[in-house]
Symmetry: D2
Subunit: 405 residues, 4 copies
């Protein structure tokens, strides 16, 4: 049926990708190589290895990688430098993980001489786009198999039938329809589908998994500090931490205080609106802290340019264009601005909210001497403002004379 010989599958060890594994073998008569990544989703990976073996994958064709540090250092942090929020609110937790998975999958494909890659994303979502744009950018001639767009296992019943026919174990809780589906990594957990499909209905409590209910959070605020160096977080409360450890620690703090819940109706790249619920506990704290340290270390021109570029940058990541020249160009501009974004931010965490309460830096551009209401010893000549206003007003005056509002 095809000339595909070996395919690298992004394999979670769950029911769906196990069915895909089998289906690929059957349909394409090809070898399957499994790739399972630890991106901080909070699941054991060894069961995935055992399951792959059980399904006949050779030892040397089972790849299990801990990518947590790479994920935070090379994907989450660069993105956070931009202050990107998709549609004003969303911290892009799913979007930012996809390019790394794609990249590693292609590396493995090259290592094992595979001619194809496959993933378990559906045909309605953004993830298929993100995976495949990544594949094609990094391996332009790779073949891509997207089973959900190809097969006829289009209902859960048929999927389970197929699993049973092929001796794939079906966990009890997967027998019925799941009330919602989730994706998780070190940055966030997203939930969507079924019980969330009416955007007027409140998200049920049982959907939340990464954050405590703000109403159950401690009655006393917790104050923390985050240290930044060149735009990236390096320590919490003075304790130096690696990127992944820092985000892990912030996740614990955010969880405890009910921080980072977002109920959103967003616009998918494939053209429809969808409703998702996102929990980004540590990322929400980090995002605000980064803005806090930029407030005193970034020049206005740089800050405003960043703000104008951020929606575009966010859109590129959301749409799957991480590996594109335009994302990289924006990154070059953003990174250029971060050289002196170094210092400490203090934040208060309390029942769902994060507030920056202080920031300091050896590179601060804030000058008490200039801004003070008190005598500034000539640091600023108020009369300069007259000329400043006069020249800024000149074109408006010429216009006013013409148009006589």
């Amino acid at each position: 049926m095809s000339d595909i010989k070996r395919v690298v599958l992004a394999y979670s060890g769950g029911l769906d990708t196990s069915v895909i594994l089998k289906w690929l073998k059957e349909t394409y008569q090809c070898e399957v190589v499994t790739f399972t990544a630890d991106l901080g989703q909070g699941e054991e990976l060894e069961p995935a290895r055992a399951k792959a073996k059980l399904m006949g994958i050779k030892d040397e064709h089972i790849f299990i990688d801990d990518l947590r540090e790479e994920f935070v250092k090379d994907y989450v942090f660069p993105m956070m430098r931009s202050n990107a929020l998709y549609e004003g609110l969303y911290l892009l937790g799913t979007s930012i993980a996809r390019p790394l998975i794609a990249k590693r999958q292609i590396e493995i494909a090259k290592m094992v001489g595979a001619d194809a890659v496959s993933h378990g994303a559906t045909g309605k979502g953004n993830d298929q786009v993100r995976f495949e744009l990544g594949y094609y950018a990094l391996a332009p001639d790779i073949k891509v198999i997207a089973p959900w767009r190809e097969w006829d296992l289009t209902s859960r019943t048929r999927l389970i039938e197929y699993a049973e026919q092929h001796q794939i174990p079906v966990p009890k809780d997967k027998r019925g329809e799941s009330p919602f589906s989730t994706d998780a990594n070190l940055l966030h957990t997203s939930s969507e589908g079924k019980v969330l499909e009416d955007p007027w209905d409140e998200v049920p409590d049982y959907v939340y998994s990464r954050t405590d209910n703000p109403e159950d959070a401690p009655d006393t605020p917790e104050v923390i500090t985050i240290d930044f160096e060149r735009g990236d977080g390096v320590a919490i409360n003075g304790e130096a931490l690696s990127p992944a450890m820092l985000l892990t620690k912030l996740n614990e703090l955010g969880k405890r205080h009910g921080i980072g819940r977002l109920d959103l109706v967003e616009n998918r790249y494939v053209g429809m609106k969808s409703r998702g619920m996102y929990e980004t506990p540590g990322g929400t704290i980090y995002h605000l802290a980064h803005r806090g340290i930029e407030q005193i270390t970034l020049d206005r021109g740089a800050a405003h340019l960043k703000d104008e570029l951020a929606p575009r940058y966010a859109e590129l990541i959301y749409n799957g264009f991480w590996f594109s020249p335009e994302r990289e160009m924006l990154q070059a501009a953003i990174d250029y601005s971060q050289e002196k974004v170094t210092g400490t931010v203090r934040l208060k965490l309390y029942k769902g909210s994060v507030i920056v309460t202080g920031r300091k830096s050896p590179y601060t551009l804030y000058s008490e001497k200039v801004v003070t209401f008190e005598d500034d010893a000539g640091a600023y000549d108020q009369r300069d403002a007259a000329g400043f206003i006069k020249l800024n007003a000149l074109r408006l005056r010429l216009l006013g004379r013409r148009d006589g509002r």
Copy 2:
């Protein structure tokens, strides 16, 4: 000394503008017309009338206007349609009030045949720019007197001396230096100066005046709904309210739940960084609600264009360019998008945080039929995604072949 005959002063009735009133008469030997506006700052205006009279202003030269409805309807709401946030966080509460004051001041100047206007803003701040750009845009040949840039009453001591020499009553609490200064209107209260001047120091509790401390807020969340029509709020919990009444009601709700506090270091248009504390209780709720209703009623293309234009639009308002062609052009684009931004948003208010928990609209673009994980009866053909991705990837593949990452 000058040829100024009659000047319209933006007069609060407070010590500073009373000194200005006197100083203008003395310095320019001119008539002074006072203009006091109710923008919802929460102060009685009649004392300002009495004080003006006391200082010798003729009855017909004392103007006291309730501008609350105009303020919200023609300034706050149009701005809110844009979702503008200055430097990602600030709801522009001071900035948006200035053009209305300037406009009314010019109207009065034309009515009374004044040849000059005057204001009490200092030479270091943004407000002088906002007032004066407004004046010049609307009356290109008006003369502008900015006493703080001209006189030598540069310390509080000398100001008070001047007041006493001229029989201007000095309230007891104005004798010493104020630990901070504030500006208030229906949208927000801002505080800055002195005790806030070190951006590492936490804002002291006594600075807050418009919001209860989240820690003292009710232990039970409050759920409300806001109805929108064509992009503007029209009702709370189903009760129709005028613009100003709606914002007033939201302010009460926000105050009670400790919502809308912001500690910010921002970049002033005049070139320095300053630290401010803003309380925008109702505006914070409104802003998120507006985003909520847009999520289901605005097309992606419109929404993303708005997001890209918003930082520029916010900057224009912050810098004082409300009455400029470029702000008006952006407003035309934004307003065009709001035709169907109609519907209801449900929000939960709790100890400092606002969460949108539902939204519905007769004009919703959200289609459960298209997005569903279930059978969609052909509303969306998943195979289309393959072609969509292939063509979006084509340029990246050509690039990948050339550059061989």
Copy 3:
């Protein structure tokens, strides 16, 4: 094979769309309604009627419309108000015609109760996208038939065989492969393909059809004037002309002087680069004249905002998003700016070049009094510049002190 009953075909009367006409009938067993538009392509339309009749189309199903005035007034002129240039150079002559064709086709489909529309654009080009996005935006449930993506007549030989089998007359010059293909309307003629496919090879002389070779153009420059009202051209050399007549006249002038040739390699929306040769004689003159009149009538803020929005606006038109909220939002902003874009521009045409040599307007914002090197009688106080510079420099000085370049 399908449930299509009646299809409206964009029909030129040429060989390709005649084959499509036949193929639609055969393949879909449906009625075909032909629509032929005069957009100023310079061809007689009656032969298209005769040919349609010959192929069995009922009289009442043959639509032939002169859309030239609508084309220029509602498509070309609004676009020209933006100064849009795709990729810095291209005046979008093909792109801007497509939405009008799509719109009229849908109107006819509604009139005749058709359930489908069809066009003759290939599967590699932009035009299929432009047509179909237009169709879908205006009639979301219409069926679209794109024969070139469906059939197997993929070589010219097979197409001609099919024509001969079905008694479709094949003109002699269509027997062999054409050395290039063209598209024409009142704004431009584009040529691409075959002899143009190597972007290093010079465009052969015989490809040009709308412009004389600059080397053969008159040795004496011709000076003309164009009058504008509210952003649109209304007269040439003082003679009032309708939109289409004005563009026709400019085309004659441009042709004679060899104006408007462009050899371009551009990026198609479908992902590849293509090389085209465009001749836009009148449009090139008009574009520069419009810039000329804006120079004195448009405020800087408006002009710069327009310049920043123009690349996006051009991209939207090129990609086929004329009927999209974001294009319409940008149009609202652009149109807002044109209220006073009224006046006269003088241009010199000479051997391929157009130079604006003068512009005047009752609404000019140019003030000789302000700008003059001579004594300006106090219109501008040079000392204001000191303050203007000082405050603009403040942030750079604070930065310089920190970073010590």
Copy 4:
């Protein structure tokens, strides 16, 4: 009168800056250090040295530098990489020279221990801003003296009187008012003032100095090639040339063929409109050639992002913000894109016009195989376009269903 001890003056050797030299000494009782730069303005510099000596400047305080290579390599070329055009048309010839002069002046100030710098730009123009923003960015605490904003020599008569009183030689042609003023460097010559002040009047022939009249240019076109490497020109007609030599050669070619004349009314940063005439012979050719090579070597995403950033970038340079973080951020993005902008462009020069007629590159992204009308052997699957269009149309269809246009 002041505490200035030593000032570095940007000194041309002409009458105006000689008067300034004298005036500085008299007014500030300070030492004057002269700095004269060769930026390719086409004037001998040694007379400036002689004149400075004559006016009592010490040998070691006379600086004369040939900055032509630095000017083109570090200023003109980086700017040209962006394709920047101010207000759509102007190649920024004056603007781009100012930061280099400011930078060198500050270097000299540091070398000689000067505490101030001075320039001869007037208080109405942009150059004062460009110089001074450069000074302040590079030496935040330098004192700046702008004689034209300070002195009372505000008419030519008084200036000449002053010169005569102080034994400054007044050239005969400077006795009367000049009919226009010019600025020149290797990139361009600008002319403005007096005879150009009415924007309706045609620029008189005698104003042009850098380009032959197109009508007098050769009757035969000249075809040339330019080679680019990483975004910068490196050779003409195959002959390798340094940056300044390359631009010099292009200037000769452009001059001969009457290329690069621009009559413009532009918006100055200081708020008024002014009319200028620019001659940029070589730069005009270079600009189009750079676009030509980018057409085949730059990805669409990169190209469109560049086009969107270019107006802002141009504005920054025009306004004098070369040494600003935001210009440098944009430069980082632009430079990132130029890695593979390497290859050869062929152009035809003829009587005022430049046409790109071919381009080729070892890194071309143009793929004849993909784009061809002929059989492409599967390089592109036309059916993919259906899905591409369907998903791009989805949101427009949902919108159409709601709004029923």
